[in-house]
């Protein structure tokens, strides 16, 4: 009989887990090292750190190895690990205007103070499969590396952060965007400490967006870009680079201690002109996006959605903060999606009972 026997069910589940782990091992290739993933799949590692909401390339790469490269699964592993870590201290606000620049562009002006710094990007690649990579050996890799390093030796080393004035600051000086709001008096919202309450303030919104899944954000931001509540964005500035993380000095009030630095992507967009209640003059509206690592699609999407959610009378899906924020977390949405594979024998039995009852009453 087809009854799920208690012991049989448990054994079947354990066997299924064994098979799942075996799938990664069954081939003939050498084990993938965590270091290889960190070094050769950096964008993937960045994405997992950002969606897993924990900045640690090592743990992200390890999670990717364990998840056989599935980014949502890997960021889920990272988040669950994060839940076990003690929170030691809140950092000071990160100064992105002091970023050590790897890449910095503006689509608003051809030349900007400090200049356009293209850095590394796949924007100019022709997407042609490179079959030589299939033949790559330690030797060819080494040669290519040496060639590049001799080229890079000729480049000026340091880019002084101070030379890169924020484009938005320039616009603000000219009164084209609203003046900076006064610094937050309250602590910023932290959705990992208390559940998000709607309407959620901007700090909470940006935090949820920074943790959200890249594909989900892109889909909703794209809906806005394509016309469902378009805000006509222009990228005032996109920067990728290292920012310093500092904490308050434990003994010297006012002083700070540097813990190190981490790579982030930051995007500021200017969008449709808006006249707000407080200000007399119309001005460009702003959208802001930042996330861990190098992930430009994600940062741009965040900035577009940040602006879209500020629309005074929301109509489009991307303007509705509950809609955007509650449906873009990859860990939550994928978990709930896969929960439909769990047994629903009892609930479905209840549905069956209702349907048969309704059918019976119509006869």
């Amino acid at each position: 009989m087809g009854y799920v026997a208690v012991q049989g069910g448990i054994t079947a589940i354990e066997n299924s887990q064994k098979l799942n782990r075996y799938l990664r091992l069954r081939g003939q290739s050498a084990p993938l090292t965590v270091r290889q993933i960190m070094e050769q799949m950096a964008p993937l590692v960045d994405r997992v750190m950002s969606e897993g909401s924990l900045h640690s390339p090592f743990h992200a790469a390890l999670a990717l190895k364990q998840a056989s490269g599935d980014p949502i699964e890997a960021s889920f592993l990272l988040r669950a690990y994060r839940s076990t870590l003690r929170r030691l201290v809140d950092s000071l606000p990160v100064r992105t205007d002091q970023m050590r620049i790897l890449r910095r562009i503006s689509s608003a002006f051809k030349t900007i103070p400090g200049g356009q710094v293209l850095g590394s990007t796949s924007d100019y690649e022709q997407r042609i499969l490179d079959f030589s990579l299939a033949e790559e050996t330690a030797g060819t890799q080494c040669d290519a590396k040496r060639e590049f390093e001799s080229f890079i030796d000729g480049i000026e080393e340091s880019l002084d952060p101070d030379q890169f004035r924020k484009v938005v600051a320039m616009l603000r000086d000219q009164g084209l965007v609203a003046p900076l709001a006064p610094a937050l008096s309250a602590e910023p919202t932290d959705v990992t400490q208390e559940s998000a309450e709607f309407p959620l303030d901007r700090s909470g919104r940006l935090q949820m967006l920074a943790r959200a899944e890249t594909g989900g954000l892109l889909a909703l931001a794209y809906s806005s870009m394509r016309g469902y509540g378009s805000i006509h964005p222009t990228i005032a500035e996109l920067r990728v680079g290292y920012v310093r993380v500092q904490i308050p000095h434990p003994f010297r009030p006012g002083a700070a201690v540097s813990l190190g630095s981490l790579a982030i992507t930051e995007v500021e967009i200017v969008a449709s002109v808006r006249r707000s209640e407080q200000e007399e003059k119309p001005a460009f509206s702003l959208g802001y996006g930042a996330c861990f690592g190098h992930n430009e699609v994600k940062a741009i999407s965040i900035a577009v959605l940040d602006r879209a959610m500020k629309s005074p009378c929301p109509h489009a899906p991307a303007e509705d903060q509950e809609f955007v924020l509650l449906h873009t977390d990859g860990i939550e949405s994928s978990g709930f999606c896969s929960h439909f594979k769990l047994p629903h024998y009892v609930t479905f039995q209840s549905d069956l009972d209702r349907l048969r009852n309704l059918q019976g009453s119509e006869e």
Partner: protein
């Protein structure tokens, strides 16, 4: 990493008792205290990620993890069954991180975590039922916005919920809601009872035990304290009905008064019925408790 590595073994354990750190557990307990004090009211809590996927019982799991102690006896069921995927998975994690004793006999358990069922043997004073809830908001049926549903609860603005039942009856001749049938708790808040089948709702009303409901993904906990009224929404002239198993009995233990799952033979395709509560069915077959007769026998 295997689950064995999570065991708090001598000298080398890497995770706290019951996985979550004590600060996070305390936060869940604070939310639970509030939930017990305001029966049926959904209390927000932080709901950090656990090693189980969202939608797979992380709400119930956090409630259990925040309450469990070394002396607890744990029973975990999934849709009534101890051996079902979700129950096995959660039990393994909890045993690996706490080492507590588990049981399939609901009478022995001090903590009973369940997905969508209460045991057939009514729970008693001192026992705690922890229910895993996928969608805690009963008003989501009629209103998608969280801001709006919270306002509706605060103002007792339930007319739209009632209107949807009215329309249901007009269209279908009866209320077609199946599992997770909305209830009014303590005469005040409307609550979504996990999705328990309607069969289990009378067991929640004026129960002797404490029921705690946790929704991890939606970050809400709520509670039905002992001896609290839980009334399914019904019209005065159209009384609420539980699932009907009239004339049917369990093919294994012969009970006629239990919630029966419909199963189809793997070879012949012939349908038959068995108790959804596997622990109860095992006890009847072992002769420990008598088979249950139909409620109206």
């Amino acid at each position: 990493m295997s689950l064995r590595d999570l065991l708090p073994a001598a000298g080398a354990f890497r995770y706290n008792f019951a996985f979550m750190d004590e600060g996070a557990k305390r936060e869940v307990r604070r939310a639970l205290l509030k939930a017990v004090a305001i029966p049926g009211h959904q209390v927000p809590f932080a709901s950090p990620e656990l090693p189980i996927a969202r939608g797979w019982g992380t709400g119930g799991l956090q409630v259990t993890m925040s309450l469990i102690g070394p002396d607890d006896v744990l029973k975990i069921i999934d849709q009534g069954c101890d051996g079902s995927v979700n129950a096995v998975n959660l039990r393994k994690l909890l045993v690996a991180t706490t080492g507590v004793r588990t049981t399939f006999d609901s009478r022995e358990s001090t903590l009973l975590q369940s997905r969508h069922r209460l045991p057939e043997i009514p729970m008693t004073e001192g026992q705690i039922a922890v229910l895993q809830v996928p969608l805690p908001e009963p008003l989501r049926l009629v209103e998608p916005s969280e801001v709006e549903t919270r306002r509706m609860h605060a103002e007792g603005d339930y007319a739209r919920m009632w209107v949807s039942l009215y329309e249901d009856v007009v269209q279908n001749g009866a209320i077609s809601l199946a599992a997770g049938y909305p209830c009014r708790v303590n005469g005040s808040y409307i609550m979504s009872p996990s999705p328990l089948p309607r069969w289990d709702l009378p067991m929640l009303n004026q129960a002797s035990h404490l029921t705690l409901l946790g929704a991890g993904r939606e970050k809400r906990v709520y509670a039905v304290p002992p001896h609290t009224s839980v009334r399914p929404l019904e019209f005065d002239d159209l009384p609420f009905e539980v699932e009907s198993f009239a004339g049917l009995s369990c093919a294994r233990c012969g009970s006629t008064g239990t919630f029966l799952d419909e199963i189809y033979d793997e070879r012949t395709g012939k349908p038959s019925r068995v108790c959804s509560d596997s622990g109860f069915c095992d006890l009847v077959q072992a002769g420990v408790v008598p088979a249950k007769g139909a409620p109206h026998d």
